[in-house]
Symmetry: D2
Subunit: 390 residues, 4 copies
Amino acid sequence: MSSFGKLFRVHTYGESHCKSVGCIVDGVPPDSPLPRRTFRSSSPAGGLRSEFDTVRVQSGTEHGVTLGTPIGMVVQNKDQRPHDYTETDLYPRPSHADYTYLAKYGVKASSGGGRASARETIGRVAAGAIAEKYLKEAYGVEIVAFVGSVGPVALPFTQEEDEVLGKEYLDLVKNVTREEVDKEITRCPHPETSKKMEQTIRDAKARNDSLGGTVTCVIRNCPLGLGEPCFDKLEAVLAHAMLSIPSTKGFEVGSGFRGTTFPGSKHNDPFVADPENGDNRLRTTTNWSGGIQGGITNGEDIYFRVAFKPPATISQEQQTATYDGKAGTLATRGRHDPCVVPRAVPIVETMAAIVIMDQLLQQNARSAAAALLPPVTSLPPTMVFPGQRK
Amino acid sequence: MSSFGKLFRVHTYGESHCKSVGCIVDGVPPDSPLPRRTFRSSSPAGGLRSEFDTVRVQSGTEHGVTLGTPIGMVVQNKDQRPHDYTETDLYPRPSHADYTYLAKYGVKASSGGGRASARETIGRVAAGAIAEKYLKEAYGVEIVAFVGSVGPVALPFTQEEDEVLGKEYLDLVKNVTREEVDKEITRCPHPETSKKMEQTIRDAKARNDSLGGTVTCVIRNCPLGLGEPCFDKLEAVLAHAMLSIPSTKGFEVGSGFRGTTFPGSKHNDPFVADPENGDNRLRTTTNWSGGIQGGITNGEDIYFRVAFKPPATISQEQQTATYDGKAGTLATRGRHDPCVVPRAVPIVETMAAIVIMDQLLQQNARSAAAALLPPVTSLPPTMVFPGQRK
Amino acid sequence: MSSFGKLFRVHTYGESHCKSVGCIVDGVPPDSPLPRRTFRSSSPAGGLRSEFDTVRVQSGTEHGVTLGTPIGMVVQNKDQRPHDYTETDLYPRPSHADYTYLAKYGVKASSGGGRASARETIGRVAAGAIAEKYLKEAYGVEIVAFVGSVGPVALPFTQEEDEVLGKEYLDLVKNVTREEVDKEITRCPHPETSKKMEQTIRDAKARNDSLGGTVTCVIRNCPLGLGEPCFDKLEAVLAHAMLSIPSTKGFEVGSGFRGTTFPGSKHNDPFVADPENGDNRLRTTTNWSGGIQGGITNGEDIYFRVAFKPPATISQEQQTATYDGKAGTLATRGRHDPCVVPRAVPIVETMAAIVIMDQLLQQNARSAAAALLPPVTSLPPTMVFPGQRK
Amino acid sequence: MSSFGKLFRVHTYGESHCKSVGCIVDGVPPDSPLPRRTFRSSSPAGGLRSEFDTVRVQSGTEHGVTLGTPIGMVVQNKDQRPHDYTETDLYPRPSHADYTYLAKYGVKASSGGGRASARETIGRVAAGAIAEKYLKEAYGVEIVAFVGSVGPVALPFTQEEDEVLGKEYLDLVKNVTREEVDKEITRCPHPETSKKMEQTIRDAKARNDSLGGTVTCVIRNCPLGLGEPCFDKLEAVLAHAMLSIPSTKGFEVGSGFRGTTFPGSKHNDPFVADPENGDNRLRTTTNWSGGIQGGITNGEDIYFRVAFKPPATISQEQQTATYDGKAGTLATRGRHDPCVVPRAVPIVETMAAIVIMDQLLQQNARSAAAALLPPVTSLPPTMVFPGQRK
């Protein structure tokens, strides 16, 4: 399906060589300002291409104010001709979507991989910018993603054997800003590592090869109570969102895979009162849960990591087969990004914003309904929420 | 939401101390036999409790044949009384769902964590059994999951630095059967490791502690062309399904996180003709993609790994706080599973079956519609699917 | 699909001769009391059968308070055996669902019409009772339906040629109560007409024939602003809900079909200030719109009419054909309701309640989100809602 | 929501004075030709304005062939400026959507009624053209709608008291073609009546008044078995679709409201073998059911009627109130259509096509799945579908 979300809902269209790509965003709160500098481009990143796309808003706003009606957005494609039939079309690119799109639809776009292109994500980023702006203004939500590794080059943080996650990494997650991230061409906010990554990317390019990597994302100041049991636990919807980004192979939240090696006694996050906090909310002293317990946010930072495989399109010669099953050698021509991970950072952020926005609207619907009835008073005090117990 | 799937759709209800748990399954193909020995229980597993639940089918079948109408299923709860108000109710269990359910709903069930209980998954397993049986009979699909690690004890397979994944692991993924898995109490199909895991679980239990672990799942003989771009890529829906299982923290498919450290030239899966295969389908010589390319199945084995954190409920004393924010010590009484990973195996399988079944119905709708029109003949041969090009 | 609604969502299961019928209700506001005298039965009505069903709540409540989690409900079927194969099974009943269910599913339930039975609506009525109670308590919403005609016997109200709708009818719509409706065995709140209807039903029964009729429903005190443009206009969703009730053939809202013969100058509803109304809301002096304009409620009474065809199952001999296409005569044995219209009254009310509840939650999600941002002040005063302009 | 359909899914955006209106169509079968003369305009009809809109296809096709991916379509708006603030903005138009949009969203578009404009339906018509073409080519489905009445001028067909519906009307429904409909400026395929309607419209225009009317639509050659019990019965989804069209107030299928006055013995449709028909399908000798029984198509013609109220915007002076509640007089300036019913004809057809297409894909998913298993042979012969019993 070309749609994501339930109440804040994004529909996208478009592939690489059609007229335009774009989206319709449903469920935008009315009477709120649109993001000004329209959208943080997903492009000017660590790779080697720079594209600047203009998003043209078609509907749903007047005088700079959202109307609550669907917002249509269009981004022109530069290369609109379907390709002519070339020799390269004889080969499905290994590990790309050429073969599977053909198998699925019985017919293929001249670009081969149909909508399996980063270009499709432009519509998402435009939609996510609206969600982000709302979340920031209404709740002070901050969403920051950064590159944690490129190929074999990772953040050099140490981690003791008995630490679920290392202190340096947790500090970065806690404090890193978008400004710090965008200062580095690789979007890795550790200048020394960023330099190494840059060099690694240049080397890969020189070898006509490609590199994957990982992106970490943190969501701060997220309201409590988001996430819909049982099937739409917040981590489940986040995982869905992240693995819908092209080239992703993995997702882990909080302590993730490493956390599975620790016993409960070390992994549990103890509760503690928060004296600065007027509403009696509890906090936790550690946050291996990654801000989500039982599928529902507990108010702590939500952080997660996403794995990106190396891009499939490389200019090296590859031994493979034609669509007809004849063995042969393919060397894809043209410019290709050796590493898309830096460019993926705003896409990760945007999908996170869309998820949180959608879950927020769902929880709002419930809590606004519950607020209209007087609380049932017959229950013991621990069975109603502290913040509501006046 | 309590629903999962689009055409094969499962709705569940129930928490720990209510009358029953159950589900409604929509979209079951009509005129097919129900699973006989009704359902492989999710229970008789490596932990220490054994529960046997009887699933009572309410509707949607007659004379042992499905009618195509919704199948209602009910499983009685044994402990149906809401708990009395006890001292333990003063404390939200650390890293459990007690606090977040209360924050979300403003009121909490006596069991604390509402539907964040493995008991909710019984309805899923019943639904998944129907999907599995259909997939097996119609396509020969095999779904096998197994335990790969419990706490620090993992399969002892070696992995060379230049190998994306080790040969022993890949062989296991390729060949392991449910029988081999169920022979071991830990559901780790490597007897020696299983013994170690068992001992580790006993030790944890003796310490009143708990352990997490990982489950690997493989789906064999899955038809080509499943997965709906862009937002419902197969890996995205699988990740959603897996992270909707209680206690999960991570998901990776194919080469996963480790694959991000390899260059494209090593990570790409070359195509090759399959001489035994009459329909001109291509195969790949490696399968780092995990059977999914561009979000769509390519016919190779789909395999993925799921991370389970250690259970939050432990009997050790934990320093934490009451709902009212007073510091104190909690030691949860009663029996608790020290490790749920072996019991999670059938739940992983069931969610995999539900996902594949649902995607299959969606793809069937498309391909059945396309099959009614003559193929457009003006296109170059490589733009239509080999299997359809006669 | 066996589901209705988006946020307040009802899933049903069950056919005539299975173990039970039931439903799962998702999206019930937490911390609200359940309807006490559990559910107004859909049964004890103008026909001749009386069934009393006990709804057993399975989950989603404790101590009489809703938890916000799905509410499972089960109603045992009395006749649980699939029928044996009898001579009657040779004929699809004319105008019943026997033939179409068989065509759709390729296999048929022994009851023939599968889920096309009023019995399926029991789950809906149970779900609707929860919605009704909430709407009543939170907003004072009143929903009253009544029988307006049975076969050729209709309310005897006069209507001038130049009147869109007659005054007596409008007065009834405005003022009728459930008590007045339920006083009459036919649920037509006009005692003289009710007597005639009763006699007509007895005559039909004596002739082994059946009768249709119409039901009018009014929703009072519905909040402004409900209904989701463009596809989920309130009247569209109401029509969907009403025509999902078995045996319905038509729906009209406000002035309906008759309104199409009047010019705009007579049909438009002029606005007027409401001096008693503190929040500056406008009212209309007439209400041919039926409380909905542009698909959105304007706060006036919502009223609509639903057409029910005569039941298909009659004991008269009918010339028809067997499944095999052999001409023959069918006279269905057993008890059959000659007229289901009185029994349809609570089902109409229940579907109305479910629709309003669902739309309310959707609008709550939006307005709660909008309320968190300061209103944009740069707009001319008429471009923001009077009730919000302080 | 701005979306309609489940598998064939249409998302629209746009209001009167924004840059463009448009849609994304999801679920188009791949490898099928696009409608050539792109789209039958919804415009050149009985009213007095003529607009010709160019639909620009953005994506989802190449070389004139659909790719199976979403088709984006855009239609430029001619009057793109938001209006300046004028005196007319002081008054909500009576019976228009100005007031309710403001109440719903808290802010209003300069056009007042937001998306409650016929302009929004352009996207639907573009989407429906794709569905229609497919249905025509794959199944020979014919969808024809026509105007049955304009204000008080209706088709002059006689109807005997004991006839459910008159013979002339039924003949028209059975045989009328689009060519016959489009020959008349009013789209009423009865030349004499059409002339009267035209004159009536001119008179209304001269009086600065407006007129409603009714549209009848027939769907021929629709496959058996479409419609999803219980909530998505075909008539329910059709009613939803029709009442989502602006200005509609009613829907009736088959015998409709009039049918409620007849007894079952006259209203039931007897079955009969169809000797010309090789697949053993049964036909019915009458068709008061309107081609749908138990919510599922039986292969007979589906026909229904839709009520359109007179347009709210008229140039006569109307006594009403300002947004601020001050009594006053409004005479809307500018050109207004005195009657939209002729222009509604293609919109009714388009929504019918979208519904059938979507239901077809849903049924295809089911029957394609069922076809892969051998039929269960233990059942009595009447319990499996004749057409499948070989």
